[in-house]
């Protein structure tokens, strides 16, 4: 793509009102039609329509194909009529330095502001193909400037605190990043779709062979019979038997085309849409706390929800709430915060923090002794909370006096700082050099001398603060237990033991708590001056900066004094263990893919019932190790997969988003199973897109996962309802629909085939043309839709009670090639009955007054009535759940058939549209004959009873799981909802729960002046600079632990 500056259009972006839509009023119709006919199915029907316009071939009137085609095209056209907005290259804005503040809540749900800066030069611009990453160059006077996401405003952003800006449209319409990123999900196809495509191809082959048989037969007939009949029906000039046979081939293509009816595709979409609405409407998947209903974002994948074999779940935010609560602590060898007192009673009364007017009212703690200890002035306890109030990278926000809000980049930190706040050490404000803390009501300012930032190797973080005005220098450090223990002063050995006991025996980690150990060290001023100098040198060094800094940190962080340990609970979402148990019963394999560390992941595995103590061997695939990453390479893929599939539970930890997607694709490719990925964060996007079905948890982590997902809801536990109820029903309904639909159309079509042997293979239809037109659109449309929208084998309660009902979907039992062949054979039988019984009953018969009834029109009416009655009875046999709507549709359709038939065969219609309705009087003259009704009754019996008998025998001899359940339902009352089991307390083996869910780099941030120069914005703080939305970059979001390595993965 090359855009010249001369075509640069300066556009006012205040409300993003830029329209680069694909269509306008005049081009919409032709362009849209062209687009639509590029779809194979539509092109096929257009081709049929054109065939019908050739008089020698036309075996049906033009409207039999035109009416459905027009209907389908107009439905699709309405869907397509939408506008697009473009991506802009930022040129200049109203703010100093050409900065622009944007909010991307619509894109990713993040509410913090992001800063964009414009280039100060203009020139020729070259950009690569729209691919999701904006990269390009701007050439001015031969000098090249790089363009990156910093300088681009994406479609979907909203300007904030900026009056205006100019931009250059670089990508428009479907090329915008939003569309590029979201577009991939729309091409997901279900396995039923793939099967349907194969079947449709087979049907085309079958159609061709039927037509060939007809054409050959026609040639033979023309030679033997047609040639001597020419006295009454002369051939058209130039037509001999061979040509006639050729024409007859195409004529039969038209007559028999109903084996692939266009309404199939429309109906399938309608059913999926309907079943998606049920998901949107489900109250049991609505989360009242944040007013979030479940949402089916992709409406074309429903039935696949009933076939899931593997679930890939993210951990944080999905299994866990990503809400950290400060639960317990150990201070100077004394433990606080036990939920159960000595008698085993649950401690329920909350600690009252009213004495502290700056306390966070939402903070809940149950142990009164801690407050008392702190208020009593215990120096260790105070030091403990002082450390928590100082050693962090949280940003405070105080809009109104006393109303503090913390912006923490990891929820752990937020929880710890909030705890300190409530216990009287309120972190109030920060500048690059100072931290102001209200200590037990007294304001104290600390000089911030250095921040020794966290990274994944150090696994700790320290700050060096100087208490004003005393000038006491202290290093405060918090970090993983093993790391801190190595750096403790030997004098702390005893305390260390006690604290370790707390961590072990009190089982902080075993409960899924995240633990941190706190330590401090008083520093000597001279030493500090020296260290600071060296630190400055190191941090400005050109080479080896990292190593030199690390050395310095290592040097100062030793001989620490232990203060205690904190335990923050990583709360599981409600009902996670139960849901996992249910899904396991449904024979769904759950793999947890997490960016977290092995210990954390393992803990969560235990706490949500995936891992149990009795499981002896736990393999952990750690993807950050060389082997793990390597295992995803070609050679070892299969080995990994084989091992993993032998396991009951698979947890992959430390996986990058790319690796998540790779794992999903690995299973997809080699297991031929339907996969579902569920996650809530930006790092799950690639996995969500890679899986057959992506589910987004609309939690607190922004909206990227939801935006790229196919289904979204607020709680993990809704997954079981989505799969076991909605998915199962959708699959059941879709399969029933397909089986019935193919049955009714094959039956319909095969009757033409048999009739051909009586009409000289002349492509004469058995039915009235209007019946052919309306059969799929009107007469049989609603009953089958009713069945496919309302049918249930057993209700939702039973579906939960017996998760094994889910397994037929996984095994693809309801609709497959075998079932299709059975459908065809059944149709074949029915069509034989439907043609030959009326034929034998009618060919030599007259009315009771001696007049004609074996005429073509009467026979057509009889055949079509028989057909309609039989397919309706078949539908009744297939329907398991008769609501009033079903009754109405079935009886209504039959009534409509007779009403429409009598209307179309009435005098008035004939006299107005003489040539269109030649069947005048047929209904009146033949439907009053008893032998017509006796024939209808006999055909119905012969078509239906074998089916009933066959099904009855199957139920008696080889009942399916559904039959068994339905049998049970008849005998038993509705089961009571399963009692909510309290999670059993886990045995306390030590599983270190270290987790420090930081990403590195925030230490620099809080000490740099960049973001604190500007006065705080009205509503939000532009603290966490992001050069672009994670949606665009597919970058790990903050608040999360994910891989260290840069994300190179666009979803593949």
């Amino acid at each position: 793509v090359f855009l010249s500056v001369t075509v640069m259009s300066f556009l006012l972006l205040q409300n993003n009102a830029i329209k680069t839509s694909k269509y306008n009023i005049f081009t919409f119709l032709p362009l849209n039609l062209f687009e639509q006919f590029r779809r194979l199915a539509n092109a096929y029907f257009l081709f049929l329509f054109i065939l019908q316009l050739i008089p020698q071939i036309s075996s049906l009137s033009w409207f039999t194909t035109a009416v459905p085609l027009i209907l389908v095209l107009s439905i699709t056209a309405v869907k397509d009529a939408s506008d697009d907005i473009a991506d802009l290259l930022l040129l200049s804005s109203s703010e100093p330095l050409n900065l622009v503040y944007v909010e991307t809540a619509e894109l990713d749900g993040e509410t913090n502001l992001k800063v964009k800066q414009a280039l100060t030069v203009t020139g020729d611009m070259a950009s690569q193909q729209p691919s999701g990453q904006v990269q390009g160059t701007l050439t001015v006077n031969g000098q090249t400037y790089a363009l990156d996401n910093d300088k681009v405003l994406l479609r979907g952003c909203t300007l904030r605190n900026t009056e205006w800006c100019f931009g250059l449209v670089i990508f428009g319409g479907p090329d915008t990043k939003l569309m590029q990123n979201s577009g991939k999900t729309t091409f997901k196809r279900t396995s039923i779709d793939h099967l349907m495509n194969v079947l449709v191809l087979c049907i085309f082959g079958f159609l061709a062979s039927m037509c060939t048989v007809m054409a050959i037969s026609n040639a033979i007939w023309e030679v033997r019979e047609g040639s001597v009949f020419t006295a009454f029906l002369p051939r058209e000039p130039g037509v001999d038997a061979a040509l006639s046979s050729f024409l007859s081939f195409w004529s039969y293509v038209i007559v028999l085309n109903t084996v692939v009816p266009i309404s199939l595709y429309v109906s399938v979409e309608i059913i999926r849409l309907g079943n998606s609405f049920y998901i949107d409407w489900d109250r049991k998947m609505y989360y009242p706390k944040n007013d979030t209903p479940a949402q089916a974002r992709t409406t074309t994948l429903n039935e696949e929800l009933g076939q899931i074999k593997y679930i890939f779940s993210d951990k944080t935010g999905t299994l866990t709430q990503n809400i950290m609560t400060f639960n317990r602590c150990s201070i100077n060898g004394k433990g606080y915060g036990e939920l159960f007192d000595f008698s085993g009673q649950r401690n329920t009364d909350k600690v009252d923090f009213l004495w502290n007017h700056l306390a966070d009212p939402k903070f809940i703690f149950h142990d009164h002794s801690l407050v008392e200890t702190v208020r009593a002035g215990n120096p260790e306890a105070q030091a403990f909370f002082r450390l928590l109030a100082l050693c962090h990278t949280v940003m405070p926000e105080e809009k109104k006096e006393g109303e503090l809000n913390y912006q923490a980049q990891s929820p752990d930190e937020g929880a710890l700082v909030t705890a300190a706040r409530n216990f009287g050490f309120v972190f109030r404000s920060r500048t690059p050099e100072t931290i102001t803390v209200v200590e037990m009501g007294k304001q104290v300012t600390y000089e911030l001398l250095a921040v020794l930032d966290f990274n994944n190797v150090r696994k700790r973080m320290s700050v060096i603060g100087e208490r004003n005005p005393e000038g006491k220098l202290t290093l405060y450090c918090k970090g993983a237990d093993t790391i801190i223990y190595e750096r403790l002063h030997p004098s702390c050995n005893k305390l260390m033991k006690v604290t370790t006991d707390h961590l072990n025996v009190r089982d902080y980690a075993g409960d899924g708590l995240r633990t941190l150990v706190l330590a401090y060290k008083d520093l000597d001023e001279d030493y500090m001056d020296d260290w600071k100098k060296r630190h400055h040198e190191a941090s400005t060094a050109m080479d080896g900066r990292e190593e030199r800094l690390d050395e310095l940190y290592e040097e100062i962080e030793k001989d620490l004094q232990l203060l205690g340990a904190t335990a923050v609970e990583d709360k599981l979402q409600d009902g996670v263990p139960q849901t996992i148990e249910q899904l396991a019963k449904a024979d769904i394999k759950i793999w947890v893919l997490t960016g977290d560390k092995q210990e954390t992941a393992e803990n969560i595995g235990y706490s949500c019932n995936m891992l149990r103590e009795e499981m002896k061997d736990v393999f952990i695939v750690a993807a950050n190790t060389a082997e793990g990453a390597f295992a995803l390479e070609k050679d070892l893929q299969l080995e990994l997969l084989r091992t993993a599939c032998m396991c009951q539970t698979v947890i992959c930890c430390r996986v990058t988003p790319l690796q998540k997607a790779q794992v999903v694709q690995l299973v997809k490719r080699y297991k031929q199973a339907v996969t579902l990925a569920i996650g809530d964060g930006a790092n799950d996007v690639s996995m969500i897109k890679a899986a057959h079905i992506g589910v987004g948890i609309s939690g607190q982590e922004g909206m990227q996962a939801v935006l790229s997902s196919d289904f979204s809801f607020a709680q993990f536990r809704y997954l079981q309802r989505l799969l076991l109820v909605h998915g199962r029903w959708s699959y059941l309904r879709m399969c029933k629909f397909l089986r019935y639909f193919f049955y009714k159309n094959f039956t319909f079509t095969f009757v033409h085939f048999w009739y051909a042997f009586f009409c000289g293979f002349s492509a004469q239809t058995v039915y009235d043309e209007w019946f052919i037109t309306l059969y799929n659109l009107v007469y049989t449309a609603l009953p089958v839709l009713g069945m496919s929208l309302f049918d249930q084998d057993v209700n939702d309660r039973w579906s939960f009670q017996y998760p094994q009902l889910y397994s037929p979907g996984q095994l693809n039992l309801y609709f497959n090639k075998k079932a299709f062949v059975r459908c065809m054979m059944h149709s074949c039988y029915s069509s034989l009955i439907l043609f030959f019984i009326p034929w034998a009953a009618m060919y030599d018969t007259v009315r009771d007054d001696g007049k004609d009834i074996a005429d073509y029109q009467s026979f057509a009416l009889l055949a079509q009535t028989c057909l309609l009655v039989v397919v309706n009875i078949q539908l009744c046999l297939d329907t398991h759940y008769w609501t009033a709507v079903n009754q109405f549709f079935v009886w209504g359709s039959l009534a409509a058939y007779f009403a429409i038939t009598f209307t179309m065969y009435s005098n008035g219609m004939f006299l107005i549209f003489t040539s269109a309705f030649p069947f005048i009087g047929t209904a009146r003259n033949s439907l009053n004959q008893p032998n017509v009704w006796l024939t209808i009754f006999l055909t119905s019996l012969l078509c239906t009873l074998p089916v009933v008998a066959f099904r009855f025998i199957l139920i008696q001899l080889w009942p399916t799981i559904n039959d068994k359940m339905r049998h049970k339902v008849r005998k038993e009352a509705l089961p009571a909802p399963a009692p909510r089991r309290l999670p059993t307390r886990r045995i306390s083996t030590r599983r270190s729960g270290y987790a420090f869910s930081h990403s590195q780099g925030y230490g620099d941030l809080v000490t740099s002046r960049r973001f604190l120069l500007k006065k705080p914005l009205k509503s939000r703080l532009a603290l966490f600079t992001q050069t672009d939305s994670p949606l665009a970059e597919n970058q790990p979001q903050h608040y999360r632990t994910i891989a260290e390595e840069p994300e190179e993965a666009q979803s593949p």
């Binding site: 001597v228 009454f232 409407w281 049991k284 018969t845 709507v885 003259n925 032998n931 008849r970």
Partner: protein, 353 residues
């Protein structure tokens, strides 16, 4: 309205708690159980048997005789004459004799039957113009394109009625004579009208109407179909109102048969006078046939059918026999199902998980 107000606020997006949206619509869930299926099968078997027996008795009470005259007796001569197209104008009359063992009681219907005549070929069936035959004037002079090649004659005159169907009308005519035991011949009177559907005669077929003009004048500017001897307005010399498009024979012919073997009503016995007041007496009959319709081209056959009718129609044994066969099949299935149920299904073992 109150409900909507209650919905605002923090639960604004909460879905409605309606039975439809929550998929809790009250429903009836029938199942194929022994209690319903087995009685149903026995019952259906019984119904079919009763119907079969009743229908069989009904059909047995009718009488029917079919006389194939394609080249029977002296008709063979006519058959040979018709073989040659050039003799089309030449008339040929032949007689066929037959006898009736038992008297035909009640109304007796006289049909002509054709075999292997494909009235149901697509191009044949399309080759007609309903608009012309319902009397639309524009179509009278300008018939539909579908009538090709019988739309206009060589002189360009429009054909009325146009099309292959009308052109190929069956044009044999019959005179049935009863020879009583004394050898006296009685001409059997046949009603040649009232043999069409009411709707055909009154709605579907109408003559074009122009005030103060005779039928012949109305049809001026059109020509008769190629194979016809008389124009359409002179089809019935005896009854002026039975001419034009509303001629009964034409209407009967225009109702195309569904299958290549068919019979069409020719006349109904007029029972006003003796000896036909009770129907056709037993004895000898002869039919005088004006043999015009050529069938040798398509290896067809022609026949005359005389039959009496019941409420069930003519003598078609298929339905009664089919019902009896179905009845026994259902009974057989019912017994098999019962055995299967008793042996496997009743104890409910298969139903256990």
């Amino acid at each position: 309205m109150g409900k909507e107000k209650a919905k605002s606020g923090s639960l604004a997006r909460r879905p409605d708690n309606s039975a439809f949206k929550q998929q809790r619509l009250p429903a009836w869930s029938p199942m194929l159980t022994a209690n319903t299926v087995l009685p149903f099968f026995y019952f259906m078997s019984l119904i079919c048997m009763l119907l079969g027996v009743w229908l069989l008795l009904t059909v047995q009470s009718t009488q029917e005789i079919k006389v194939d005259y394609t080249h029977a007796g002296e008709c063979n001569v006519c058959f040979e004459i018709r073989k040659n197209m050039s003799n089309a104008g030449e008339s040929c009359i032949c007689t066929v004799e037959f006898s009736i063992e038992k008297p035909f009681k009640g109304d007796v219907f006289f049909y002509y039957g054709l075999q292997n005549f494909h009235q149901n070929l697509r191009r044949y069936m399309d080759s007609r113009d309903d608009a012309q035959m319902v009397g639309w004037k524009e179509n009278l002079k300008n018939p539909s394109i579908y009538c090709e090649p019988f739309k206009k004659d060589q002189n360009g005159l429009p054909i009325a009625p146009c099309g292959a169907v009308a052109n190929s009308i069956f044009n044999d005519s019959f005179t049935l004579t009863y020879i009583d035991s004394s050898g006296t011949e009685h001409k059997v009177p046949l009603l040649r009208r009232g043999i069409t559907w009411y709707t055909d005669k009154n709605v579907k077929f109408r003559n074009p109407k122009v005030d103060n003009l005779t039928l012949a004048q109305v049809f001026e500017g059109t020509t008769k179909p190629l194979y016809w001897q008389k124009p359409v307005y002179e089809l019935d010399p005896h009854q002026a109102t039975n001419n034009g498009f509303i001629n009964d024979d034409l209407i009967v012919w225009m109702r195309e048969a569904a299958f290549p073997n068919f019979k069409k009503l020719y006349g109904i016995l007029y029972r006003a006078n003796k000896p036909f007041t009770k129907g056709l007496p037993a004895g000898n009959y002869k039919i005088e046939i004006s043999y015009n319709f050529p069938v040798q081209y398509f290896r067809g056959r022609k026949q005359v059918v005389l039959t009496t009718l019941t409420w069930f129609g003519g003598q078609n044994h298929f339905l009664p026999i089919a019902y009896l066969v179905t009845s026994s099949l259902i009974l057989l299935i019912a017994v098999v199902l019962t055995v299967v149920w008793l042996k496997f299904g009743k104890n409910g073992k298969n139903m256990e998980e």
